[in-house]
């Protein structure tokens, strides 16, 4: 009887162990399937970009042949990697990079300054201002786009880099994100620096900014992706090759009667690379910032 009692926990432990292993297998399989679903369109894009027959690409879509290439070629990339001419995708990529870098760098400075003043500045009606900033966030970009086109056109900015940067540098979302981040940092930091005679700009630049890497990373990625994926706005305000970004340029492959899948795929792969690098470079801080804000609520 006692043997029986003593031996009872063992099968239970085994069954718990088995169920844990089983659960892990199920989890792994599920993660693998989800990863496959997420990655397969990107893989298909890459494979299609290595095929040089647009009709073949279309014919292969919908079958497993979309994930396989018999004679890989870089001809699509060679055709579009120009800095002048009708397929100046190198130029368009460069244009997009310029717009992205200037938008993100100036956006980080302006939004963080605004967020800092709202958090710690001695500004009258701060609460109302903050409420207004949040209220602005709910207005969709599309609803103000036409008046904005008219404004920019009257300012003589049509078909410039500036017109693609200026309207989107200050954003209620990023001001609020910075505000929230700065407001969570200890008040003592501000008070100690103030007692030492530091100006508000010095406190912002030398104390709060170095502590804000996660917020900076988050805003950089969000702003970068937003700037990179802009399509409607640059379509409306660009006219020539001069400042045309790659997102608009890719649309040229989708014509009235025909779609150049081969070159469109290669251009899409090129378009993905910088934003992927941006994400990989900042993703550690990006994730930690999101986790942090979730915990702190």
């Amino acid at each position: 009887m006692s043997d029986l009692v003593l031996s009872q926990p063992a099968p239970l432990a085994i069954s718990r162990g088995n169920s844990k292993t089983g659960l892990r297998i199920v989890q792994t399989v599920c993660i693998f399937i989800i990863a496959l679903v997420m990655i397969s369109p990107l893989f298909m894009l890459l494979i299609a970009s290595l095929k040089d027959d647009r009709f073949r690409i279309l014919a292969d879509m919908g079958s497993f042949r979309a994930f396989w290439v018999n004679d890989p070629t870089l001809s699509n990339y060679r055709e579009i990697a120009n800095f002048s001419g009708e397929l100046a995708y190198g130029r368009y990529l460069f244009n997009s990079l310029v717009i992205l870098v200037v938008t993100v760098v100036s956006g980080l400075i302006i939004n963080s300054m605004a967020g800092f003043v709202l958090a710690w500045g001695s500004l009258r009606g701060k609460a109302i201002l903050l409420a207004l900033v949040v209220a602005l966030y709910v207005i969709p970009q599309e609803s103000i786009i036409m008046p904005l086109v008219v404004m920019m056109s009257r300012a003589g900015l049509t078909d410039t880099f500036a017109v693609q940067i200026l309207p989107w540098v200050a954003s209620p979302l990023y001001v609020f994100l910075f505000y929230q981040f700065f407001a969570q940092l200890p008040k003592e930091l501000y008070e100690a620096a103030e007692m030492d005679g530091a100006s508000i700009f010095r406190i912002y630049r030398s104390i709060y900014m170095p502590l804000s890497l996660p917020a900076l990373a988050t805003v950089s990625i969000l702003m970068g992706i937003e700037s990179w994926n802009q399509y409607l706005w640059p379509t409306l305000v660009t006219q020539t090759d001069y400042a045309r970004p790659i997102a608009v340029a890719i649309a040229t492959f989708f014509g009235q009667d025909s779609i150049y899948w081969d070159r469109a795929m290669a251009a899409s792969v090129l378009m993905m690379i910088p934003v992927l690098i941006l994400y990989l470079a900042f993703q550690r801080w990006f994730v930690s910032s999101f986790v942090g804000s979730a915990v702190k609520g």
């Binding site: 009709f55 279309l58 014919a59 292969d60 879509m61 919908g62 079958s63 042949r65 001419g85 009708e86 397929l87 036409m146 086109v149 008219v150 056109s153 009257r154 049509t158 399509y231 409607l232 379509t235 409306l236 305000v237 006219q239 020539t240 045309r244 608009v248 649309a251 040229t252 492959f253 989708f254 014509g255 009235q256 009667d257 025909s258 779609i259 150049y260 070159r263």
Partner: protein
């Protein structure tokens, strides 16, 4: 030393003044702004024409403004709002009435060469004509049509009759009979691809399905009274769309989710394809001699086919209409532009271009498509409410194809169209045409 510096400064100032003067003279050149859409091939073709035009006309500069095909209307609206309409612009033919009514275009007869006007096919004239003043507001090198493509081996397997001209197009009974036979044929997954995959964001449904309905005695709107209620929701329209809904319900039509390549994809799962003239190039490349081109079937008493494509107009606000007309004439006559258009199996809108296009000439593979232009082509309703007409109709067809009640969907669409016309006080003087 001071004098030297002074001289240098004076020289610099003089040089700057001279440069500014030269710049001013350069600015004095006439600039023609041209807004267009198109894939990289067309963009290059237009760019090359502009260069040749500038060489031939040193006093005129051409500035090309590109707008992606799918965002052309948005770009156009932005240009209207910013009061920056280009001198020359490409426009989709069915939108012409709306643009003319809104005052965006001016008549082009006095501006383009007479020999070009004389060279236009009747279908090309109809796509560029405003119905109120019967004046011509746009011209194009090309036009368009939709035909029925067939897989020869499947059609032979069911013993189908292959029409050789528009006059012996399949009747509804024949067409539905063949669809049924094809649905039972081994290797055929879908008897027909009607290109539902193009979705409802393009013009496809109105452009391609409209003629089938018109052939059945239906129309999108009454073209005399300009009211949709009583026409679009009439018994003829309900019956015609219920017929098409039955094809979908029977599993005869390639679904939206299967894309636009099932006619020639591996295994050739679709036996027929109701496709545009442009589809020929891609289908023939994959199918070689297995492809046959037939006229659209006659669903009712008469055959009807679509027409209309992207054509060129001159804006009413153009400061240089003569220069714009000169450019347009140059473009349409440009040999290299025509050569490029031929490589794209472009559908001729000018008689001289038709004569140069073996694809559409008698005995050519797309001869039937060109024959449709003179025998069965019907333009989409030339009315300023067209943007609402097409949007309401496409949504109704989408609902019906997804199992909705045809009468209900068409009545809702008709009401929406009439409401738009009423909201715009009948788009005078269209309301006086009754």
């Amino acid at each position: 030393m001071t004098a030297q510096l002074g001289n240098r400064l004076l020289r610099t100032l003089l040089a700057t003044a001279a440069l500014l003067g030269a710049a001013g003279m350069a600015e004095a050149k006439t600039v023609v702004h041209v807004m267009h859409q198109g894939d990289p091939g067309w963009v290059k073709a237009y760019g090359d024409v502009a260069k040749r035009f500038e060489e031939a006309n040193p006093d005129i500069d051409v500035e090309m403004i590109y707008a992606p095909h799918d965002a052309y209307n948005e770009k156009f609206s932005a240009a209207v709002m910013a009061k920056q309409l280009p001198d020359v612009m490409e426009l989709d033919a069915p939108f012409l009435a709306n643009y003319v009514w809104s005052g965006y275009l001016q008549p082009i007869k006095p501006l383009v060469d007479q020999d070009l006007l004389d060279d236009m096919t009747s279908s090309n004239i109809s796509q560029g004509t405003y119905p109120i003043d019967k004046d011509l507001y746009a011209i194009g090198l090309t036009d368009s049509s939709v035909v029925l493509y067939g897989n020869k081996k499947y059609l032979e397997a069911i013993g189908a009759r292959i029409p050789k001209s528009v006059d012996d197009a399949w009747t509804r009974e024949e067409f539905e009979g063949y669809l049924e036979k094809l649905s039972k044929l081994e290797g055929v997954k879908w008897p027909i691809d009607t290109f539902r995959g193009y979705g409802i964001k393009t013009e496809w449904i109105t452009y391609a399905y409209g003629p089938l309905l018109e052939s059945a005695g239906c129309d999108l709107i009454d073209r005399k009274t300009w009211t949709a209620s009583g026409t679009l929701d009439s018994e003829a329209c309900v019956k015609a769309l219920t017929m098409m809904q039955t094809w979908v319900k029977n599993g005869w039509v390639v679904p939206t989710s299967s894309g636009t390549n099932q006619f020639y994809a591996e295994g050739q799962p679709a036996a027929l394809a109701m496709g545009g003239h442009w589809f020929y190039a891609e289908a023939a490349a994959a199918m070689k001699d297995d492809i046959v081109v037939m006229p659209l079937p006659k669903i009712g008493e008469r055959g009807v086919s679509p027409n209309g494509t992207w054509i060129w107009g001159i804006s009413a606000t153009s400061e240089n209409p003569e220069a714009a007309g000169k450019y347009l004439s140059f473009l349409l006559k440009d040999k290299e532009y025509r050569e490029y258009a031929k490589t794209q199996s472009a559908y001729p809108g000018l008689k001289s271009f038709a004569a140069e296009s073996p694809l559409y000439a008698e005995g050519g593979p797309l001869a039937v498509a060109f024959e449709q232009a003179s025998k069965t082509a019907v333009a989409r309703p030339p009315h300023p409410a067209y943007p609402t007409i097409t949007s309401a109709f496409m949504q109704a067809v989408d609902k019906i194809f997804n199992g909705g009640d045809a009468q209900e969907a068409l009545t809702a669409a008709a009401k929406k169209i009439d409401q738009d016309i009423e909201d715009n006080a009948g788009y005078p003087p269209f309301d006086e045409q009754h």
